[in-house]
């Protein structure tokens, strides 16, 4: 079987997108499928460049190569899904956010610019046309599906991928700390956790892994709150260390603002640990069952502190919550096998 995986490429930007693409290709090959990665460079601006990229992908027809028939094309991002093929499926990371949920915000295109407005209209129209052309539209999470429904009125199916090294997570002791793995950025809201730690009545500690632009600010905040003896900033940690931090924690905090997917939730579940998250955290809400496998609370330090104290006191229940999380993970069929089954169906 021959499969083409189509993506755009922004040189030297290798984040979750690269992980997802490589994971997909590796697992397809493991099934004995012939895979070719089809990619073109992409620029997020100016509008003219975006337009050019759209036209190029749209002009490409994967039915007409000289290699014989390509049975399937899997497109992962905008505008690679403009590629034409009789058997095209889309597994969407996200759309061109600048003209959708970020439109009119400081992160997206300006509403008062006629060029951007025109681009927005064209992208919306062509997105709808090319997605309707696909045999199957999947997304990486329910949030992305919801946006696709809201903005383009297109139904899609969330298809979850497992976190990297998912088979290596394990559960060990239950020590008195909350594990906080994430990049140190404002949107990840580690500050909320620090404020909760300061308000908690239990002598709980917080272990914060990861690095980022907010580190100095967070360290200052910890000092200011007088909890510097209960908080440690671990910086970037190696994989086996991270596994151990997960495995020995009382619970894992992951309360970002409007996250699309978020591996942290799944990693905590794989480590059989309860997850503390917030009502506006997005992705985690698709997996955490409040009071069953963790807590979902308002993004308020007092509420978060109350839940931390509760877990501190009810350790047996905390352990059961962690196990329930692991069971939920397993019940969700989050595996590359399942991803491939759907994309090749």
């Amino acid at each position: 079987m021959r499969v083409v995986v189509a993506t755009v490429q922004v040189p030297f930007i290798n984040g979750g997108a690269a992980y997802m693409t490589n994971g997909l290709i590796r697992n397809l090959r493991a099934r004995g499928i012939e895979v070719e990665h089809l990619t073109r460079p992409f620029r997020f601006g100016p509008a003219k460049e975006v337009q050019r990229s759209m036209d190029e992908w749209g002009a490409e027809n994967a039915d007409e190569f000289d290699c014989g028939e390509i049975e399937r094309v899997i497109c992962l991002n905008f505008p690679s899904f403009y590629l034409r093929h009789h058997n095209k499926v889309v597994w969407l990371m996200h759309q061109h956010r600048a003209v959708y949920e970020l439109f009119g915000t400081p992160y997206g295109a300006a509403t008062n610019d006629p060029e951007s407005t025109q681009l927005k209209e064209e992208i919306t129209r062509r997105d709808v046309a090319s997605l309707r052309d696909a045999k199957l539209v999947c997304t990486i999470s329910r949030r992305v599906s919801t946006r696709l429904k809201d903005f383009n009125n297109i139904e899609s199916e969330p298809l979850y991928q497992p976190p990297p090294n998912s088979e290596r997570y394990y559960c060990s002791a239950q020590l008195g700390y909350i594990f906080v793995p994430s990049r140190l950025e404002a949107l990840k809201r580690q500050d909320l956790l620090l404020r909760a730690i300061a308000k908690a009545r239990s002598p709980i500690a917080a272990m914060i892994a990861g690095d980022g632009g907010c580190r100095g600010e967070l360290e200052r905040l910890a000092n200011q709150l007088g909890i510097e003896d209960r908080v440690r900033f671990l910086g970037r940690v190696k994989l086996d260390e991270m596994l151990a931090w997960y495995a020995n924690s009382l619970a894992v905090y992951f309360g970002p603002h409007e996250e699309d997917y978020g591996f942290v939730t799944l990693e905590a579940m794989l480590s059989s640990k309860p997850v503390l998250t917030c009502t506006d955290s997005g992705g985690p809400l698709e997996f955490v069952r409040n009071t069953h496998s963790g807590f979902v609370c308002e993004p308020e330090p007092d509420q978060l502190a109350a839940r931390i104290d509760w877990l501190w006191v009810n350790r047996d229940v905390a352990r059961d919550m962690g196990r329930a999380g692991r069971a939920l993970y397993e019940a969700r069929k989050i595996s590359w096998d399942h991803v491939l089954d759907r994309l090749l169906a």
């Binding site: 020590l175 239990s202 709980i204 272990m207 190696k238 151990a244 069953h292 006191v313 009810n314």
Partner: protein
């Protein structure tokens, strides 16, 4: 949820490992990571050894291993493919098959000490050679000899007789000395046949001689060959029988095997079906268990939700109550803060304004001028009121000018007197004290007026429980012209004046008052502790430096009896005219003392219930009167008018604390 209720751990139950010890936690995790790494490395090394040894194998070894493996697998599959009994039966059967072997018709020659030639001639070819060796040399033929004789015999080069002879009459044959009847002569004849002429003759005669025997021998040979053929045919028949029987047995075995296999397969299939059924039943059971688990899970979840909801609700309720209380407290606090702030602001404004106006009036520096301008600006807004104020100010100015004129006059006089003092003799010249007495006369007011003012304090004494007729003295420091002593005497009190001005003292003594010439502080120091009912002082502290006032207060406190009263009267600088001008009419005044300062000082030195009384009775009245509220800015104007019309004197009154009773 049951576990929640039963969980006995307290809210601050310490963890097995001190939880706040963040460094301890870090240490522990690091140790675990190290341990796991070590374990992973061990595993990796083992794998490497296994992998590393494989290239050492050569192709043969690999092949051999593969073959062994294949063989093992085959054996395994063979064993597992057949039921045990069948395999065993087949193995025994194969070993028991023995086909009949060819047995030559002539039997071997038994070992004897002598033979007849004919015994040997029955045998042919290799049999003959073997038999000859065995019989004559008592041993099997050696390969070389056997082959040599066989070749010669088969080529017809020599006869059997010759061979027998050659073996018998060889060295080895002679040693064995096996006798063969009838060998020697034929052997010799055969040998001679090899000699020319004789050999030919001998051959011919021998042939003629042996013809009848030849026919007989041919017959014997024919019979022997026929017997061999028959024997061979019989053997073939037996072999065929054996093979047929073998095949029949094989067939039986195969049939048995097939039957057994069929039975096994059937029983297996049945067993499998039973297992499948059991598995189905188990599956059904599992599903029902899982369903019930799910249901109970759901129920539990709902219970947890409802309990956490109710907890949250009660939390919310409590929070709401708390919030109400907090709000009330907060609003109270805010109000208090506002009140305090308002007070502060008022006090500040007041002080600021006092300061501003005082500074403006003094006109001492540019900053004050600016403030003056500010006030002037504000006043100009209210022109109507201002004109009225101007008029009043002018009238005040007039009285001020009158006073200033009198002062100028006095100053002139004193300058003159000073000049006189400088020129004239000390004892003859009028003293400064005398001048003060006259100054008092001139400026303080007339005697009756002063008495009327002092009479105010009779009430104070009464309030302090100091009754007329009390033995204890009322000590008046700086008694001056003795007006207060006179009032006291008139009301039956025992007063005692202290003054250092002789002129004043004489005037008092002349009126029959008890007065002492002394420095007020020195005199107080000399008095015993707790001996005085009241210490009064009118218009004296403003003559003293602050440290002296403090010592005076300490001494007064000492000499007063518990509950005794202290009265200090002094000009009130809150009145701008007093503060800025009138106070300085007395050249012996040091500086005006603001009422709060004196009050605070008295209190601070140990007096209690210290109050300020502003005194305006019997001190004339200002012609500045408040304006009507209807006038624009009346409030501010009236405030300013008050600065000029407030009481000109004030008194600070305090009491010596009584020792705590009982």
């Amino acid at each position: 949820m049951m576990r929640l209720a039963m969980n006995p751990s307290g809210p601050m139950e310490p963890a097995p490992q001190s939880p706040t010890d963040a460094d301890g936690l870090m240490e522990r995790i690091r140790a675990e990571v190290e341990q796991r790494r070590a374990r992973a490395q061990d595993a990796a090394e083992v794998t490497e050894i296994a992998v590393g040894s494989s290239p050492a194998l050569n192709a043969e070894e690999i092949m051999a291993r593969v073959r062994t493996e294949i063989a093992r697998r085959h054996a395994q599959s063979a064993r597992t493919a057949l039921p045990g009994e069948v395999a065993l039966a087949m193995a025994t059967m194969i070993h028991e098959v023995h086909l009949p072997r060819w047995q030559p018709a002539a039997s071997r020659l038994p070992e004897q000490s002598q033979y007849v030639l004919g015994d040997f001639l029955r045998f042919d070819d290799s049999d003959f050679v073997d038999v000859a060796y065995q019989a004559l040399l008592r041993r099997p033929a050696d390969l070389e000899g056997r082959q040599g004789y066989l070749d010669a015999l088969r080529s017809g080069a020599i006869s059997k007789v010759e061979i027998l002879g050659m073996i018998r009459f060889s060295e080895e044959g002679r040693r064995q000395a096996v006798h063969v009847n009838g060998l020697l002569l034929p052997y010799k004849l055969h040998r001679w046949r090899r000699v020319r002429v004789i050999g030919w003759l001998l051959g011919m005669s021998l042939a003629i001689f042996r013809l009848p025997r030849l026919a007989w021998r041919l017959q014997g040979m024919e019979a022997s060959a026929a017997r061999e053929a028959q024997e061979t045919g019989r053997l073939i028949g037996r072999i065929a029988d054996a093979i047929e029987q073998h095949f029949a047995e094989e067939d039986d075995a195969l049939y048995a095997l097939r039957t057994e296999l069929t039975q096994t397969v059937t029983s297996r299939v049945e067993g499998l079906r039973a297992v499948t059924e059991r598995a189905g039943a188990l599956q059904a059971m599992l599903e029902s268990v899982r369903d019930s688990l799910l249901t109970s899970d759901e129920t539990l979840y709902r219970q947890i939700e409802s309990i956490s909801n109710s907890l949250r609700a009660s939390d919310t309720e409590r929070a709401a109550q708390l919030k109400v209380v907090q709000e009330v407290l907060a609003s109270n606090e805010t109000k208090m803060a506002e009140f305090a702030k308002a007070l502060d602001t008022n006090a500040e404004t007041l002080c600021g304004q006092i300061e501003t106006v005082r500074n403006t009036l003094r006109g001492s520096d540019a900053n004050n001028a600016a403030r003056h301008k500010q006030i002037a600006d504000r006043l100009s807004v209210h022109e109507a009121a201002l004109s009225k104020l101007d008029e009043q100010a002018q009238s005040d100015h007039r009285s001020l000018h009158a006073l200033l004129d009198r002062l100028a006059f006095f100053l002139d006089a004193s300058a003159q007197q000073a000049g006189n003092l400088a020129i004239g003799n000390d004892e003859d010249g009028p003293s400064l004290e005398e001048q003060y007495a006259s100054f008092e006369q001139a400026f303080r007011g007339d005697r009756e007026q002063i008495k009327a003012r002092a009479a105010h304090y009779l009430g104070t004494l009464a309030a302090a429980g100091i009754e007329p007729g009390d033995d204890a003295v009322i000590m008046d420091l700086g008694s001056g012209r003795g007006e207060w002593l006179e009032v006291l005497a008139e009301h039956g009190y025992r007063g005692c004046g202290v003054d250092s001005n002789r002129g004043m003292l004489e005037a008092s003594r002349a009126r029959g008052h008890e007065v002492v010439e002394a420095d007020a502080l020195d005199y107080l120091r000399a008095q015993p502790k707790g001996s005085v009912a009241a210490v009064t002082s009118m218009h004296m502290v403003e003559h003293m430096p602050h440290p002296v006032v403090i010592r005076l207060l300490d001494e007064a406190l000492r000499v007063l009896r518990p509950g005794g009263v202290l009265i200090l009267e002094t000009p009130n600088p809150e009145n701008l005219l007093v503060g800025s001008c009138l106070f300085y009419m007395d050249p012996t005044h040091l500086h005006p003392i603001p009422p709060p300062l004196l009050q605070w000082t008295v209190q601070q030195r140990g007096f209690e219930r210290v109050v300020v009384e502003r005194l305006s009775e019997h001190r004339g009245s200002s012609n500045l009167t408040p304006v009507s509220d209807k006038i624009l800015g009346a409030e501010q104007i009236n405030q300013m008018i008050a600065w000029f019309t407030v009481a000109q004197d004030y008194a600070v009154i305090g009491k010596k604390p009584k020792p705590a009773s009982g």
